[in-house]
């Protein structure tokens, strides 16, 4: 057990899957000697060699096509897209090819690819480096989308993703990379895919969140606890599919819900959560579904982020509004 950052937890997971399965391969732009632009793959090429951890030419469609072909020939690729905004370049290989491989071939050929990529705002990066694009991918049947909110889950979920025989988009929150540390067990452990976590138990209201916003929701829960309001926080962890059972169970108890996402209101997965509740659990509620999201502008330039990304203050306002409905 050691205190580790989100990045260190991910490096840990990659080290374990490389060690465990000689068929795993890490590749992408600058992942080798440089250890990735964030040093997520630091030391891995040294340890496992250039055959297992290697730099590619600079072309996202090529990187993901390489992954498809390697998957077809028995390898377990873990490609990196340097920033999620660059995944537009690879949409066909991800959504058009890998996500439908098992379906096409009735399971006789599959694409066991785990695509790692950083996303998310708040670090004042250049344009196209921070956008929350999860909803591009949650709309793709045959693809899982995983978004860990903390270092412990990041490690366990990444190992589960790599071991999964279907493609996974593994989205790493840029802001969390170095701003958060957890006690991380040494060695291998897994966190299950497709399963949300009750990050904090409570009775008065449920907040459903994912990614960096889970931590904002937890802050709100702390702050409201001082006023004797008990908030339950659900961390989706896998955002496609959504674990609706865990959400329903919570709102049967609290009867109130606020859904929080970092992405613009029209993006993200909040609408999907709201629709699941409206379809199957609306009678558990005694107030409207509350939503907190970024406004529907184009993703702001660096200096606009701080006023644009919803954080604890906006969440607390919305929670109070729904509580007082």
């Amino acid at each position: 057990m050691a205190k580790k950052t989100y990045i260190q937890a991910i490096t840990d997971a990659l080290d374990i899957v490389l060690e465990d399965d000689p068929k795993t391969l890490i590749f992408g732009e600058d992942v080798g000697k440089n250890g990735g632009v964030f040093r997520t793959t630091q030391g891995l090429q040294e340890k496992y060699g250039e055959d297992r951890v290697f730099d590619t030419p600079l072309a996202e469609s090529g990187i993901l096509g390489l992954a498809t072909g390697l998957g077809l020939t028995g390898w377990r690729p873990i490609p990196e897209i340097q920033f999620m905004g660059f995944s537009f370049e690879a949409i066909d290989q991800i959504a058009g090819q890998e996500a439908r491989m098992r379906f096409r071939f009735d399971g006789t050929k599959t694409a066991p690819v785990t695509i790692r990529t950083p996303y998310g705002g708040g670090t004042h990066t250049a344009e196209m480096h921070a956008d929350n694009l999860e909803n591009f991918f949650t709309g793709v049947p045959g693809l899982r989308v995983v978004m860990p909110s903390n270092p412990y889950d990041a490690k366990g979920l990444l190992i589960s993703s790599v071991e999964n025989n279907d493609p996974v988009m593994f989205l790493e929150n840029l802001k969390l990379y170095r701003s958060m540390k957890d006690d991380i067990p040494d060695g291998k452990y897994t966190v299950p895919l497709d399963k949300a976590k009750v990050a904090r138990e409570g009775n008065d209201i449920t907040i459903v969140a994912y990614g960096a916003e889970v931590n904002e929701a937890l802050k709100v829960a702390d702050s409201l606890a001082e006023k004797n309001i008990s908030v339950e926080v659900i961390d989706l962890r896998t955002v496609s599919p959504i674990d609706s059972e865990t959400i329903f169970k919570s709102i049967e108890k609290t009867h109130k819900v606020v859904i929080v996402q970092e992405a613009q209101k029209m993006a993200g997965v909040g609408a999907q959560v709201a629709s699941a509740i409206a379809e199957d659990a609306v009678l558990s509620l005694d107030a409207p579904i509350g939503r907190v999201a970024a406004p529907n502008s184009v993703y702001p330039f660096a200096l606009g982020e701080d006023i644009w990304i919803p954080r604890a203050k906006e969440i607390e306002e919305k929670v109070n509004e729904i509580l007082n409905y």
């Binding site: 030419p57 072309a59 469609s61 020939t73 058009g96 049947p141 599919p241």
Partner: protein
């Protein structure tokens, strides 16, 4: 300013057109233009090449018939491209991987898929994709196969397979896709064993080759990736085979990828869905290509050698067509697909939501 320009761009551009003649062994008058290569083929080889082209032409005719009867789904005609398709695929070995485009179904069958499976693929039945051959299904997204071929090639190399490579196909239009370049560039950078084949049949649906690119040849599009490439007479099966075979030998020796551009022609429509080539080309443009028909020239050689006769060919065509009729009957008896199965084959481990949907559809389907 000096009078002499610092760079003579026009000269550089003209130099791009300074390309060697496409490789040929047998010209359209059935004259041998490369005796050495011609002599390397036995009589049996020549007969085998002819049989394959007759088979592909018969497959095309019968499939068009089925199509007119409403018994096919998507079908991309192959008439005219027999030399290019059969010539290249005959250079493949069983352990090679094939990454075909939608017009490359005959190669997929040669590589191990059954005709029944090909028909089921055309109709859109999942059983059409469960062939045992080392192959992707025919790719619809133009360019995608080139990217994937780089990965397959690298996979083969990493697996330590010495006598194997990836064969992949695209059309003249396909060379305009960024993915085509990315695939060649990746394969070049990784020295991956891949043979990239461009079947230049003159048109991408209705867009002529001349409007596709200002590059004088499509073959030279490989140059920027550091990959050797050549143009081949795509109506000459002997040349197509000889070049593909030479490329394969070169690639499996560990030299990295090769690109071949075959100059061929699609006689009919782009697909059987009803587009009409009369809208974008004239009889006068088509006729010279019909005159170059790959079957005519090899037939003449074989007849001169008394290795072939009209009777023999008619008998073969009848046999082939009978086998296609058998195959479509077999395809007719494929079980209907079920929604519950579609859900089951989406993920190895169905999601909780899917489990509910599966149960719902299974209940419906058992009624």
């Amino acid at each position: 300013m000096a009078n002499k320009p610092i760079v003579d761009f026009e000269a550089i551009k003209n130099n791009l057109s300074n390309v060697s003649k496409p490789i040929q062994v047998l010209n359209e008058n059935a004259e041998v233009t490369d005796q050495d290569i011609f002599d390397s083929f036995s009589d049996d080889d020549l007969v085998e090449f002819m049989k394959k082209m007759v088979w592909e032409r018969a497959l095309h005719e019968q499939t068009m018939n089925f199509s007119r009867q409403g018994r096919m789904g998507f079908y991309a005609p192959t008439e005219g491209e027999e030399a290019s398709e059969m010539g290249t695929v005959l250079a493949m070995k069983k352990n090679d991987y094939l990454l075909p485009a939608y017009r490359d179904v005959p190669q997929l069958i040669q590589h191990g898929a059954t005709i029944t499976e090909a028909y089921l693929w055309s109709r859109g039945h999942v059983l059409g994709n469960k062939f045992k051959a080392r192959s992707m299904m025919p790719q619809i997204i133009i360019g995608a196969a080139y990217d994937e071929a780089a990965g397959v090639g690298l996979g083969i190399k990493k697996n330590g397979e010495k006598d194997a490579l990836a064969f992949t196909y695209t059309g003249d239009g396909g060379t305009s896709q960024g993915d085509s370049y990315e695939g060649m560039n990746f394969a070049g950078a990784f020295k991956a064993p891949v043979l990239f084949i461009v079947q230049n049949n003159g048109f991408a649906i209705s867009t002529p080759r001349a409007k596709q690119t200002a590059a004088p040849t499509l073959a030279q599009k490989a140059v920027a990736s550091g990959i050797p490439s050549v143009q081949v007479d795509g109506m000459d099966i002997l040349a197509c085979y000889a070049v593909a075979k030479a490329a394969r030998d070169y690639i499996v020796a560990g030299n990295g990828p090769v690109m071949i551009e075959t100059l061929t022609y699609r006689y009919g429509a782009h697909s059987s869905a009803g587009d009409d080539p009369k809208r974008y080309r004239t009889k006068a443009e088509e006729q010279p290509w019909f005159d170059k028909d790959p079957l005519i020239r090899l037939r003449k050689i074989l007849e001169d050698k008394k290795l072939w006769s009209e009777d023999q060919e008619d008998k073969l065509v009848d046999e082939y067509k009978a086998s296609f009729k058998e195959a479509i009957k077999e395809a007719d008896s494929a079980p209907e697909d079920k929604v519950s199965d579609m859900l089951k084959r989406t993920f190895e481990i169905p999601t909780p939501e899917m489990k509910k949907e599966i149960a719902k559809f299974e209940a419906k389907e058992s009624k």
